[in-house]
Amino acid sequence: MLHALDRKLLRDLWRLKAQALAISLVLACGVAIFMTGLGMVRALEVTLEDYYNRQHFAHVFASARRAPASLLRDVEAIDGVQTAEARVVGSVVLDLPGRAAPASGRVISLPDTGPALNVPLLVSGRFPSETAGDEVVVTDRFASANGYRPGDRFAAIADGKRLILTITGTVRSPEFIYTLPPGGLMPDDAGYAIMWMPETAAAGVFGMSGAFNDLSLKLRRDANQQAVIDRIDSLLEPWGGVGAHVRELQMSHAFMQAELDQLRSMSAVLPPILFGVTAFLVNMVLGRIVTLERSEIGLLKALGYRDSEIAMHYLMLATLVAALGVCLGWASGAWLSSGMSQLYARFFDFPWLVQPHAIDVFAIAGLIGLASAAIGALRAAWSAAALAPAVAMSPPAPPAFRRGFLDAVSGWLGLPQTAMMVLRGIVRWPLRAAFTSLGLSLGVAILVASNFMLDSLDAVIDTSFFKSNRQHATLILAHEQPLSAVADARHLPGVLAVEPQFDLPVTLSVGPREKKLAISARPLGGDLARTLDVEENPVPLPEQGVLLSAKLAAYLGVRPGDMVRVTLSGLREGEMVLPVAAVTQQYIGIGAYMRLDALAALLGEAPRVTSLNLWIDPNELSELEAALKSMPALATTVMLTDVRKSFQDTISENVRINTVLFLTISALITVGVAYNGARIQLSERARELASLRILGFTRAEVSTILLGETAVLALIAQPLGWLIGGWIAWAMMAGFDSDLYRIPLVLTAQNFASASLVTLTAVTAAALLVRRRLDRADLIAVLKTRE
């Protein structure tokens, strides 16, 4: 049998259903996002750790031009090294049957003894036999994107040699969970292949018999990572080493970490906001209920109910609202996480993804949800328990309104009486008014942040593709070539303009700070690949000195006029000190730029090229593509038009998902706060408003008084929301700031206006719902009921 008090609970809940639902939805949103964030972070972390351990993902990576195989013994002898593996890797151009667009690939050797590190995981077929010269395994993604199965063949051009390769199987590798083709910004499963070939065959293809050019290390737990890297660098230096790097700088791993960071920051910002708003709403609504039920509380006490039972009664009301929110949150969280898993499965190549919805994730999210409602309910429950029964039974003293500051101001401004009533309402409960405004401003802030993301990515695309990298395609050459390669490329079909680029691997250092990268040298007056100053205007390459991207300059702590030490790596040896001529703006990667002829002069060589930027006649694209397939000196072709498109497509899809998500969150918060606030004002002012109606005020006038307070608070919330949103945007910008990419802080008037428009519309909708209740209210009944 349900106790009478429990029945009261259920009936009260039913009476409050609209308000309860508004609160539940805010809470559900918090639970769902928290669950998804926590679940996905944990699933990814566990998956990565598992995958890395099982496939022996290396800790340190290094490459060299060509190192003798015997060097491996010295590497293995380094203190702290557990396992070392030498490989031969090389780039190839692919000639895929049925694909016109250029495709390229990376060949990695499989040691005869079987790989000990970065072990590929077989998905189908078998590994190539040790002695086979034409067998490879390829990534499963590449195979499925092109419809290849074990047994199929394709052609690859390596070092000018055309090879016909047979696919014996498909694999996945912990090194290539996320793979970007050279020069690409998005994965290209069909156009970029990673393939593994037996050691002997790979050495034959790339002329590396008895040598290696790639090194992976697994370190012991107690190893001094930096010491190992320094030692590797000095061992490889004579052999064209370009510097060892840690796992954190490995491309695939770095992207995974960036994704994890983003997830973590999403779960650090949004759920606390939503849980906080929930606690506030519960506090506000329950506080009002306890005030309204003051005499019922006194009665229950007179009947012998304990303080704890009464407190529990009100806590239970909050708990039921929270329970509904938690259940809705669980359902939508499960849905959101599975959507997220699918999204990840598209971008990341995992062999398995640990279930994001583990039972403890549900439990933690549920407990936090319940706790946030309970925290909101505590004050009301406590005040119900603390009411002295004799006091509770007598009617409350009317609130003390005093003539004061406000009256003086209004007298001076000549405010009408209705405006006074609105203002008095705000001043009477200043804390509640402040929190209501804050709640509404969070709704605005979330939209500002979401709009910022859009605007910022637009700016990234605009800067990266329409202002700086304007070329249609980039041909990356297999080897350095003399400047005459420019003229050769000019004769390819459909090529309208060619600009050379020379990438020189170096270490830039200023004092103890250093960065390994390539200086890109370009001809003066280049019009395709351009450097931009911080205002995003093209900046000419200096006659002397080097341009550094802002992020790099900040890292090295230099400004224009300062000097940087340039240590050559790779094939060349030497050191020079160059002045920083200017700082440039770029959002993707970091960079250092020089004039082609200036660099050549410094090196004391004739200018050379490593890649060619092309301006193409789109009508002759297919002829060009056909010609590129058999161009011997080519390592890779990057079609920037395709890169742009896939980047824009991916972003616009993410943007769509984000917009829906953030719009929902913002609307739920705004409606939840505005609706509950207005309902409470309606309940507090019902008698007053009914009296006014009887005195002859119109419905519209009475609604103005009721909704005026909400309107004033919503208006105050706008600038506050812009401010908080701007701050969130700034924090996001700071959070995204890595060597891989960063985003500019773009806050436009349009952003603020659209955020305000959306939230004010939501406030208006909530206010209209409450106004309808007011219009329907029975004046006589309101006056008759005893408070």
Partner: protein, 243 residues
């Protein structure tokens, strides 16, 4: 009947020098009770009369365990109320006291039966809610909400709720104050019935001097003191009360 009452050794309520002072510290002090000495024998129907503000409700609150006295002693049977903690007072109310207030004090979201169940859920030896409602003649209305009942009916539900726990004492603060004579009579009849049927000590505060003739004992209050105690030799029945 009066002889059996006289043989009771311990009165239902006994107070000595009960004083209640409100306010102080800044606001003016109000001496609501100023040394009340009373003995209310078990099983009596007692009427408390007095002008507004004389301290009647204050006394009822103290002996009902709703409030603490400033000084003095109050006893219910052999329990000293004035030395009890809030917790013990709650226990005392739950086990022994039935209240009826001027404004019907029903929980608006509960039906008549559920309002009664509010008490039977927590009392040690209650009757069934239906039984209690039958005693006040409302068995037909048990599924109605307060808003669907007249003032008199609501007050009878409140009485049913008060008696459903089979309380030791029934404390009524102006139970007919908001009612007309006809409904008021029905409420008084219900109280009278409970008093005679179960021998429940019943204290009724009223402004209606006519009601005093129903009582075994009439206590007059003035300025926080008892000014007169009168025992009725003959009592009239509830339906004979004039308004």
């Amino acid at each position: 009947m009066s002889s059996t009452r006289a043989t009771q050794e311990i009165p239902a309520f006994r107070t000595r020098g009960i004083t209640k002072i409100y306010g102080g510290r800044g606001t003016a002090e109000v001496r609501a009770l100023d040394g009340v000495d009373l003995d209310l024998p078990e099983g009596e129907l007692v009427v408390l009369l007095g002008p507004s503000g004389s301290g009647k409700s204050t006394l009822l609150n103290i002996i009902g365990g709703l409030d603490h006295a400033t000084s003095g002693e109050a006893w219910f049977r052999d329990q000293e109320l004035t030395s009890m903690s809030d917790r013990q007072l709650t226990r005392y109310r739950r086990d022994n006291v039935g209240f009826v207030f001027q404004f019907y004090n029903l929980v608006a979201s509960l039906t008549a039966r559920e309002n009664v169940a509010l008490v039977t859920d927590v009392a040690p030896d209650p009757m069934r809610p239906e039984e209690a409602l039958a005693l006040v003649g409302l068995q037909e209305r048990q599924d109605h909400f307060p808003a669907q009942m007249s003032g008199g009916e609501q007050q009878r539900v409140a009485i049913a709720r008060a008696i459903a726990k089979r309380p030791g004492v029934l404390l009524c603060d102006e139970p007919t104050g908001a009612l007309d004579s006809k409904t008021g009579t029905a409420v008084l009849a219900a109280l009278e019935d409970v008093n005679t049927r179960f021998g429940t000590t019943t204290l009724v505060i009223t402004h209606n001097a006519g009601i005093r003739k129903m009582a075994h004992r009439v206590i007059r209050f003035q300025d926080g003191r008892v000014v007169e105690i009168e025992e009725n030799k003959t009592r009239i029945r509830a339906h004979e009360v004039t308004w």
